[in-house]
């Protein structure tokens, strides 16, 4: 099964990106969602949590093909991936 990578600080993204494998998924939450405002060179589908984007005023600042998720979508990602890897600083 492929991994879900959760990034909760934009600064933690560079550590995570080189470890994305085929089938893995990337989820930006909390301060990780600021990374959705710049290009992400990831070979995996990228998602970001709606609540965290909305709080920070980022809904209209997203570049790229990033899928916006509710917590329901978050749980669904966890269902489909193992292990769940959290990247922080």
């Amino acid at each position: 099964m492929a991994a879900l990578h959760i990034v909760n600080k934009a600064d933690a993204l560079p550590d995570c990106l080189p470890l994305l494998a085929d089938g893995d998924a990337l989820l930006l939450i909390e301060d990780g969602v600021y990374a959705a405002c710049a290009d992400i060179d990831a070979n995996a589908p990228c998602h970001a949590l709606a609540d965290d984007l909305e709080a920070r005023g980022l809904m209209n600042r997203i570049v790229n093909a990033i899928e916006i998720l509710s917590y329901d979508g978050f749980v669904e990602l966890v269902e489909r991936h193992r292990p769940v890897v959290t990247w922080s600083r």
Partner: protein, 130 residues
């Protein structure tokens, strides 16, 4: 699916506790079993019963208590990390002769074996970092 969750950050210092609470609520709503919430590092501060939340902000501690009451989810705080941060249940209060317990009774203080057990027993283990 059986899911366990770790919370590493304190309320107000990080979003970890609130994010984990929302995730747990949603996992339950989707029919999963949430086996254990393990509060680790500063995360143990969510167990404190003495906090007075600002009126214009969400009370995450109350949210955990409410989740426990309505779904029976185990709220387990690392006992070693709790003790040094002043989070005591009635037993530790007596042992260290402190004037009162500071942990809400819906939380339990447990050893790190319960973190390993949560991982071993669950299909998924999700960490909410500080």
């Amino acid at each position: 699916m059986v899911i366990s969750i770790a919370v590493h950050g304190a309320p107000y210092a990080s979003q970890a506790s609130r994010s984990a609470l929302r995730f747990a609520e949603c996992a339950l709503a989707r029919g999963h079993a949430v086996h254990r919430i393990f509060f680790y590092h500063e995360g143990v501060l969510a167990a404190g019963s003495h906090g007075v939340a600002p009126q214009d902000e969400e009370d995450v501690h109350a949210g955990w208590v409410s989740l426990q009451e309505s779904h029976g989810v185990e709220l387990a705080a690392c006992i070693a990390n709790s003790l040094k941060r002043g989070m005591l249940d009635a037993g530790e209060r007596d042992r260290y002769e402190k004037p009162s317990a500071t942990v809400h009774p819906r939380f339990t203080l447990v050893g790190l074996g319960q973190l390993v057990d949560a991982i071993a027993t669950s299909d998924r283990f999700v960490t909410f970092a500080a």
